[in-house]
């Protein structure tokens, strides 16, 4: 059985007022192997964020089944780390304490927080340094630039060494240079820690650069219309994005999404 199994899932949101609730995804099936990096692309509003919430146990399917790490998802999975387009840092906490937030919630760290505080702080600082934020732990998040906050938000997603990392357009609000820098940060973190990653993105180059496999979703209600393997060798340097093999995949995906939007 795969690490993440979504089998023939439909999800209809609760109706608001008189209108019928939105059917966000329908007949959605996908599976992700342990340690794999997959990307999910598709037209806007097709249910990508919904997929994230299904896999982390924040929402439950109306039909079909979701399982993570071999267990059916009945509630929050606790082994996931999440990052979003909006870094949402708590402004009253130092960046380091923001990164430590998940450890204050998940066991066994929650229990050990007081006793192992210094150790955890060192770990947070090391993680921050690994994404190029040496010394930023001592600063407040609002003293950091958008790109730096996004790096810190990645650290927060990774601090509890999650087996599953969910990224919902995490680089969407950044300039092109910062974004490419963070691709490399993410590539290296994944190579080093080998967590299973699901990345939702609108940026097809980002998907092809980072992912082992790409799922293309249809327009709403979302379902998988194509699974594209990315057989570019790893580690991938940024220059790979200018090679023909790379751009061919991007074009192919582009065509698929343009079609799905109709």
């Amino acid at each position: 059985m795969s690490f993440v199994e979504i089998a023939d899932v439909a999800l209809r949101y609760a109706p608001q007022g008189g209108a019928e609730g939105t059917l966000a995804v329908d007949g959605l099936s996908l599976s992700v192997e342990k340690g794999e990096f997959v990307a999910v692309v598709g037209p806007s509003g097709c249910g990508k964020s919904t997929l994230m919430k299904l896999a982390t146990g924040l929402n439950f399917p109306t039909r079909g089944s979701v399982s993570v790490a071999g267990r059916p998802v009945k509630g929050p999975v606790s082994i996931a780390g999440m990052a979003f387009q909006n870094p949402v840092m708590l402004p009253w906490r130092l960046t380091r304490d923001n990164v430590l937030l998940p450890l204050e919630v998940v066991q066994p760290h929650r229990r050990q927080m007081r006793a192992r505080k210094a150790e955890y702080q060192a770990k947070a600082d090391a993680l921050l340094a690994s994404v190029g934020l040496e010394g930023a732990g001592e600063k407040y998040p609002w003293q950091l630039s958008g790109g730096m906050q996004q790096r810190a938000s990645l650290c927060r997603a990774l601090i509890h060494e999650p087996e599953l990392v969910m990224l919902d357009e995490p680089f969407g609000a950044l300039d092109a240079f910062t974004r490419e820098e963070l691709w490399c940060v993410m590539r290296d973190l994944h190579a080093q820690k080998n967590f299973t990653t699901i990345l939702v993105t609108h940026d097809l180059r980002e998907a092809v650069f980072l992912a082992d496999r790409i799922f293309v979703l249809s327009a709403r209600p979302g379902r998988v219309i194509k699974v594209r393997d990315v057989d570019l060798p790893r580690p991938r340097p940024l220059e790979v994005t200018y090679e023909k093999q790379f751009t061919d995949i991007v074009h192919e995906l582009r065509g698929l999404i343009a079609e799905a939007r109709q």
């Binding site: 146990g57 929050p76 996931a80 949402v88 708590l90 402004p91 204050e104 407040y140 609002w142």
Partner: protein, 267 residues
């Protein structure tokens, strides 16, 4: 630690002493202009007494003025403290869940749109005259902004933040203590400035209708006795008391939630 904006103001103080003096110059200027205008135009004292005669009246009735100011101060503060306790409790309750928020918010708005002066006769009916209706009016009028602000701070947690924590198995209580409550503190302390001013209005209003002590009552008596300068002295006493209470709350807000000022939270 101080931020750039604060530093800019401090720098302005240092380089230009007029920035620091300006409020004093304006205040003193107002009284000087008032004094001169009254004298030159020969305005009768029962229409508008000159500041000098107001000051004299204040000196003459200093004892009563102090006593009544203290009375008003304590009824205001008592009502305000009640408002903090109930306002916080109700705000936490309402903000706890979006459904409670949605259900009770219209009721709160409805309650708040009743002019509180209309409540005073009912309070008198229930508890008689004296200090109690003053405290209760101060409470009723000032607890609303506290409730609304605390509840809003809780109910407007970024959904992403909630997702991050919920996906980790955080309970509602975790989310509230780690995110909701710290986040609503700037709203809470911000609301105290408004609330103390309203509490003050409430207690004075009630004193002018249903009390035998307090600055409001004193004003009414002075007016009945045609002691117009004393009426104005009362007015100025109220202004000073109001400014002091506001300043204390503004200072407290700054002290307690400096991060919100520095980070530009909620702007």
């Amino acid at each position: 630690m101080s931020d750039a904006g604060e530093e800019a103001v401090v720098a302005a103080y240092k380089s230009d002493p007029w920035v620091r003096l300006a409020p004093w110059v304006c205040t003193i200027g107002l009284f000087v202009v008032w004094e001169i205008a009254v004298r030159v135009l020969g305005v009768p004292y029962y229409i508008l007494p000159a500041p000098s005669s107001v000051a004299y009246a204040a000196y003459e009735f200093a004892g009563g003025l102090a006593e009544n100011s203290l009375q008003t101060l304590w009824t205001t503060v008592a009502g305000f403290l009640l408002a903090i306790v109930f306002g916080l409790a109700l705000g936490l309750f309402i903000g706890w869940d979006r459904r409670i928020y949605a259900g009770l918010y219209p009721l709160m708005i409805g309650f708040n749109s009743i002019p509180k002066v209309a409540v005073v006769p009912i309070l008198v009916l229930w508890v008689g005259t004296g200090w109690l209706p003053a405290v209760l009016t101060a409470f009723l009028i000032s607890f609303f902004p506290i409730v609304v602000n605390v509840a809003t701070g809780l109910a407007t947690i970024e959904p992403e933040m909630e997702d991050v924590l919920r996906a980790l198995g955080a309970k509602k209580l975790d989310i509230m203590t780690k995110v909701g409550i710290p986040r609503s503190l700037p709203y809470f302390f911000g609301s105290l400035k408004v609330a103390i001013t309203l509490a003050f209005i409430g207690s004075v209003m009630s004193e002018t209708v249903a009390a035998n002590a307090g600055v409001g009552h004193m004003m009414l008596t002075a007016q009945a006795n045609f002691e117009v300068p004393l009426v104005f002295a009362c007015l100025i006493a109220l202004a000073i008391e109001g400014i002091v209470m506001y300043a204390v709350m503004a200072w407290l807000e700054k002290r307690m939630t400096g991060w919100a000022h520095r980070s530009g939270f909620n702007r």
